[in-house]
């Protein structure tokens, strides 16, 4: 199989991640096209077939960071964004600081963590984060950028970065509980 058709097999996968990170379909398509072009222009820089995807993801991450940089003004976090996080806190805890409901036991979900359905739910939960918060979270968890770099790229103070990540983690937990772990216990 030639490189071109091998690349085509990975296109949908790359686009999914680019969309989640950039939260803009046109930018995501640009990032993936540029990744494909970069890969085609120097095929000698990758060797074995098993590493093709890893190699492509590496290129994609660079393209995505370039786009975040070019679009800095548009992706900057609105610091006063009312996003309902206080409500989430109020739902989780009673006034005296105790949990309103005991957090569920998620068990040892080793099997589930290798199932495709689980990751579909995880991605859907990440997609449901508000765009600015989702970008910050993905920069951390997918691009794996150090905090200082995320602050620099998005013009965030460290405090604001941690607030965004904190809210994102709570929402993701809530979403997984509702759509995966909670349902599982019921069946």
């Amino acid at each position: 199989m030639n490189l071109e058709s091998q690349l085509a097999q990975h296109q949908a996968y790359l686009l999914r991640f680019a969309r989640l990170q950039l939260r803009n379909d046109a930018w995501a398509e640009d990032a993936v096209s540029e990744t494909m072009l970069a890969a085609l222009s120097k095929p000698q820089s990758f060797d074995s077939r098993s590493q093709l995807k890893t190699w492509l993801v590496g290129i994609l991450k660079h393209k995505v960071i370039d786009i975040l940089r070019q679009r800095q003004r548009e992706v900057s976090v609105d610091q006063d964004e009312g996003d309902g996080s206080e409500e989430l806190d109020a739902l989780m805890f009673k006034a005296d600081g105790h949990f309103a409901a005991q957090p569920a036991d998620w068990g040892n979900p080793e099997q589930e963590l290798s199932s495709r359905q689980f990751f579909t739910v995880l991605e859907a939960c990440a997609e449901k984060l508000p765009p600015a918060m989702g970008r910050v979270f993905l920069m951390r968890e997918w691009l794996e950028l150090p905090s200082e770099d995320i602050c620099k790229e998005l013009q965030l103070t460290p405090t604001n970065l941690y607030v965004q990540l904190h809210r994102a983690r709570l929402r993701l937990r809530e979403c997984l509980e509702l759509n995966w772990f909670g349902n599982r216990a019921a069946t």
Binding site: G97, P103, A104, L113, S114, R116, L122, H166, L170
Partner: protein
């Protein structure tokens, strides 16, 4: 008491620990609370499941099955 924390405070510390190292006094307060609380250890476990899930997702283990579940306990202060 200086080391006493509510579940709400402990949950906030546990979430914060995913992204930054906690000061010594908070780490001590956390351990004291977790040792005595019924609810918070479940919350801590949920966060560790999420951490493991995000790692596998990043590494795309769902399409290359096997590395799953090898180490469920990577350090929270990983970065």
């Amino acid at each position: 008491m200086i080391l006493r924390r509510t579940c709400k405070e402990v949950a906030a510390l546990l979430v914060a620990r995913e992204d930054r190292a906690l000061p010594m006094v908070e780490r001590v307060a956390l351990r004291l609370h977790l040792a005595a609380c019924q609810a918070c250890p479940n919350f801590e476990h949920q966060l560790s499941v999420m951490r493991q899930a995000l790692r596998l997702w990043r590494e795309d283990a769902n399409e290359n099955p096997s590395p799953a579940a090898k180490s469920s306990t990577n350090s929270p202060d990983r970065r």
